[in-house]
């Protein structure tokens, strides 16, 4: 399966735009497997360095993870203040506590301008962006989280331990 919505200007990129390897994760902030994948991906980004750019898109399963969509909107709101990845990290590092007050605490802890942040949390276009991520993931064959795409193709192997890193290193020597 291919990624039907290519990486575009609405995505936040971690790593250089021109990097030859593009890793896209569809994830859910409240999903325990995504929580497990978070340090693995972070380690991978350090190891592969500027050969790779990383994009995170939201795939919240809201009926079983009722706080996931709000957390996703919080990361998008932080992105408007150029702190997307700081918020992404602090959310995954505190995954078990994602209610509204907690999100405000995390936003303050990474130095967001709070009036702006609380106002942005209500923005319809951010919610629509998160829903759009879900739809693009579903149309690209995402059926569970986390699902990874490498250079536009769905990765169906294991991502646990250093399996994903090994795969990337062997595919892009």
């Amino acid at each position: 399966m291919a990624l039907r919505t290519p990486v575009n200007e609405t995505d936040y990129l971690f790593g250089p735009t021109q990097a030859p390897i593009e890793l896209v994760e569809y994830g859910d902030y409240q999903c325990p497997y995504c929580g497990k994948a978070y340090p693995i991906v972070k380690g991978l980004l350090q190891q592969v360095g500027d050969q790779l750019k990383f994009v995170f898109r939201n795939f919240p399963l809201s009926k079983i993870h009722p706080q996931a969509r709000m957390a996703a909107i919080a990361a998008e709101a932080a992105g408007l203040q150029h702190k997307y990845w700081e918020m992404h990290d602090v959310i995954y590092e505190n995954q078990k506590r994602l209610h509204h007050t907690a999100l405000l605490e995390y936003a303050a802890s990474i130095g967001l301008q709070m009036d702006q942040f609380t106002a942005d949390m209500e923005r319809e276009d951010l919610a629509a962006k998160v829903d759009g991520h879900f739809y693009s993931g579903m149309r690209s064959g995402v059926s569970a989280t986390p699902t990874f795409f490498i250079n536009g193709e769905k990765y169906t192997g294991s991502w646990e331990n250093d399996d994903l890193l090994k795969y990337i290193k062997s595919t892009f020597p």
């Binding site: 399963l61 009926k63 149309r139 690209s140 064959g141």
Partner: protein, 156 residues
């Protein structure tokens, strides 16, 4: 497995402990039948969790989703409550697997439904079907493709 363009066999199965649902009562609506092996097994619950999020999209396409397995109505009730599912789970329980057999998606060896999807059009004709390997979550994109294709054909 029944072929595309064949008539979807009618059935009446328990959707809740005291209510039955008849396929033909949904005529005029599209129906997505998701046969799955068992409540509580890992892949099904992922698959059903995904479909649970898809209900708005299905609804917009005038489609009703129905899950079907050989589990009994009380098991379905408990599974559905636990996973907060907002669509009916039908119990193909007595005679066991009769509907799955009629659709050609019963696994005689283990006594469960295979993991199969059918999209049925407004007139009760099978418009699309898909048999997934049992351990693989088929996702929802095939269903959405089929629904979009039906819209296209309608306009022509």
């Amino acid at each position: 497995m029944l072929l595309t363009q064949s008539q979807a066999p009618d059935f009446e199965l328990y959707a809740t402990p005291d209510q039955k649902l008849k396929l033909s009562s949904l005529q005029g609506k599209r129906v997505i039948l998701a046969f799955y092996p068992a409540d509580w097994s890992p892949v099904c619950s992922d698959q059903m969790a995904l479909y649970n999020e898809m209900l708005d999209y299905f609804h917009k396409a005038n489609a009703q989703l129905l899950g079907i397995s050989v589990d009994g109505k009380w098991c379905h009730m408990s599974f559905s409550a636990d996973r907060k599912l907002h669509f009916p789970l039908l119990a193909d329980f007595e005679p066991k697997g009769a509907v799955a057999k009629a659709y050609g998606v019963y696994n005689e060896e283990i006594g469960e439904c295979k993991r199969a999807l059918f999209v049925i059009d407004e007139n009760g004709t099978i418009a699309w079907s898909y048999l997934s390997p049992v351990g693989v979550n088929p996702g929802a994109d095939g269903i959405m493709d089929a629904l979009e294709e039906m819209d296209k054909n309608k306009k022509v």
